[in-house]
């Protein structure tokens, strides 16, 4: 199964990047199927995130694309050419790893030069291009440092420069931010996106952090158990998740019991359209985003709930409420709306559609 690029996705850049296609790729690990006939098509210059919980096959997919894993079936095409049997060093890719991967015996500059040296680029040009690449990631002044003299964030920047200096056709990022602390992670995330957009290089980014994926990618492929559950722009995934798994994994969701009748569900006294694949009538679980629930302190519409806790999150406030049936809901709202624990309020829904899954 191949998933064609969705027409809604924005075309990012025009230049250098290559097309990348995974066609029915299968990979088995000692009897376990890590990739189950995966199909993915990435346009030149596009930034695609592979998102999923650990063990979903996202890293395997990336490593297969890099040639670090041999696939057991299917095709991997870069610019239309099947590279499934091409060794890693001949695939013309750049890769940044999760664990720090700088060569400890070389300086930052020599690390960046490594790929050029392998391509037999002359000494002067090598120096110049490596210096430029270090400047690009803002580390020109640390060219003489060894890896152990750099912070984690700086090491990953050098690794990024090293991966990009050879102007590869595809950039592969294997959770490059997960070893970094929160602040550096945000900074580097935005910088990766800026550099990627500048260079127009086709990029695949593996992450288990949905916020990270939604923030940087043109399109996000949500994976589970070796298959892609859904691929689409961050907005599509968030607003119209194709499966309950996607709804759950991308963003927070409240699970509310409801009854499905002719493709519609009634939640909090309101009748809403059910999203996703059509289900048979019967009991379902509706997945409702915390920001789609409104707290109405005074009104009489909707459903009654008691405030349990309320936490201030800077730009917004998240409040947990208990429904009469003892289930707990999480609601996100403006900071100005203050709620005291113990207050009884009414809840209403925003929006006209909701994603549902069969109740177990």
């Amino acid at each position: 199964m191949t998933i064609a690029p969705s027409p809604a996705a924005p075309a990012t850049a025009t230049s250098a990047g290559a097309t990348v296609e995974l066609i029915d790729v299968i990979k088995d690990y000692s009897g376990q199927r890590a990739l189950n006939s995966i199909g993915l098509s990435v346009r030149p210059g596009e930034f695609v995130a592979l998102l999923g919980p650990s063990g979903c096959g996202k890293t395997t997919a990336l490593r297969s694309l890099a040639g670090l894993e041999r696939i057991d079936g299917g095709e991997i095409r870069i610019d239309g050419v099947n590279v499934a049997n091409v060794p890693t060093n001949k695939r013309d890719i750049g890769m940044v790893f999760q664990s720090y991967s700088l060569f400890p015996h070389l300086t930052s500059l020599e690390n960046v030069e490594f790929g050029l040296r392998m391509r037999k680029v002359g000494r002067d040009e090598r120096r110049e291009r490596a210096s430029e690449a270090l400047e690009m990631v803002g580390l020109g002044h640390l060219a003489a440092r060894f890896a152990h003299q750099l912070s984690g964030g700086q090491q990953q920047r050098v690794a990024l420069a090293r991966a990009l200096v050879t102007r590869p056709r595809v950039l592969l990022l294997d959770e490059p931010l997960s070893a970094l602390d929160a602040k550096v992670r945000l900074q580097l995330r935005d910088e990766i996106r800026r550099i990627q957009t500048d260079l127009g290089i086709t990029t695949l980014f593996v992450t288990h952090d949905q916020e990270e994926a939604l923030a940087v990618a043109d399109r996000v492929a949500v994976m589970r158990d070796g298959v892609i559950e859904q691929i689409g722009s961050p907005e599509e995934l968030y607003a119209t998740p194709a499966t309950p798994f996607v709804a759950n994994f991308v963003g927070l969701s409240n699970r509310v019991d409801a009854e499905l009748v002719h493709g519609k569900v009634e939640v909090f006294g309101e009748v809403l359209e059910a999203l996703g694949e059509p289900l048979a009538d019967g009991p379902v679980t509706a997945l409702i985003r915390p920001e789609d629930i409104l707290i109405d302190p005074a009104g009489d519409a909707g459903v009654e709930a008691t405030i349990v806790t309320s936490s201030f999150l800077g730009s917004l406030r998240r409040t947990n409420l208990r429904l009469p049936d003892d289930s707990v809901l999480s609601v996100q709202h403006a900071v100005s709306e203050r709620a005291q624990p113990g207050d009884v309020v009414r809840l209403r829904l925003r929006g006209a559609a909701v994603s549902v899954s069969p109740r177990a």
Binding site: T88, N89, P104, F114, G115
Partner: protein, 281 residues
């Protein structure tokens, strides 16, 4: 029971400075006493108590080469054996260990077990097994001394293995070689430009310790009727105990220097320099 925080009993702390010096002194004395006695012995003139340098000077004088020919043969043989043994370690053990680390991680336990076995088998037992093997070795490779290095290659396994493995454990060889390959390096370049430079310390340590073990080996050479440094020293001690002790001392000093070097070769010089100039930012 209440206990003040200031004078709380600390468990597992270092001994005090004085205690450390006392321990070091006692242990040092136990080691040094025989060595000093040996050294003193080499300066003795007869058994009356006068001292002289004559034993040292005669050993190194030109005319003694004939007298001590077997000793010279022993020294040469031992160095040849040391070189071949190091060669075996570098050509067979090292690539095997790298391969296991990179491609067959499940074989690590097996390899470790195999490499540790020689330390559990006394040399004298080993020889019983080796004797018939060497009957064949002599037929295939001839009877020259270097074939003894096959046996030494086995006896040094535990030491060389530990030295290399501790280095392999300290370096993420898998990620480093994957990074190198993604940058366009073939396996040859991965080995020469990435793995070997980062395994330098372990390789040097393994080589030096192999040399030290080979130079000190007596049992196998003696029982297989070969001449090496130690068998030569034993032989000479029967006619000239002074020279034998001098040789033993020199061999010890050489091994000691090798071990010192192992401790020093830690990193390439420029890294040490860079670390000294390190400024944290």
């Amino acid at each position: 029971m209440s206990r003040g925080t200031s004078n709380a009993v600390r468990i597992g702390t270092e001994p005090s400075k004085l205690a450390r010096w006392i321990i070091l002194g006692i242990v040092g004395l136990a080691f040094m006493l025989p060595l000093v006695a040996m050294l003193e012995f080499t300066f003795r003139e007869g058994f009356a108590g006068e001292h002289t340098f004559s034993h040292w000077t005669t050993l190194f004088s030109p005319e003694s080469t004939r007298t001590y020919r077997s000793l010279i043969t022993g020294v040469t043989n031992s160095f040849l054996l040391a070189a071949v043994t190091v060669g075996i370690v570098l050509v067979i053990l090292l690539p095997t260990m790298i391969l296991v680390q990179l491609q067959f991680p499940r074989l690590r336990r097996v390899l470790e077990f195999i490499c540790i076995i020689p330390i559990t088998v006394p040399a004298i037992v080993l020889v019983v097994g080796l004797a018939p093997v060497y009957a064949i070795v002599v037929r295939v490779f001839g009877g020259s001394i270097w074939t003894l290095a096959f046996a030494y290659g086995i006896t040094v396994l535990p030491y060389a293995y530990r030295a290399i493995q501790s280095n392999l454990d300290a370096v993420d060889v898998i990620t480093l070689s994957e990074a190198a390959r993604s940058l366009g390096a073939g396996w040859g370049s991965v080995l020469a430009r990435v793995l070997l430079p980062n395994l330098r310390r372990g390789i040097l340590a393994a080589s030096f310790i192999s040399v030290a073990v080979v130079l000190g080996e007596f049992t196998i050479a003696s029982l297989l009727n070969r001449v090496n440094l130690q068998t030569a020293v034993l032989q000479i001690s029967q006619s000239d105990p002074f020279v034998a002790v001098i040789c033993a001392l020199l061999a010890l000093a050489f091994a000691f220097i090798l071990l010192l070097i192992i401790g020093r070769v830690g990193q390439p010089r420029r890294i040490k320099k860079a670390r000294r100039n390190r400024s944290d930012s």
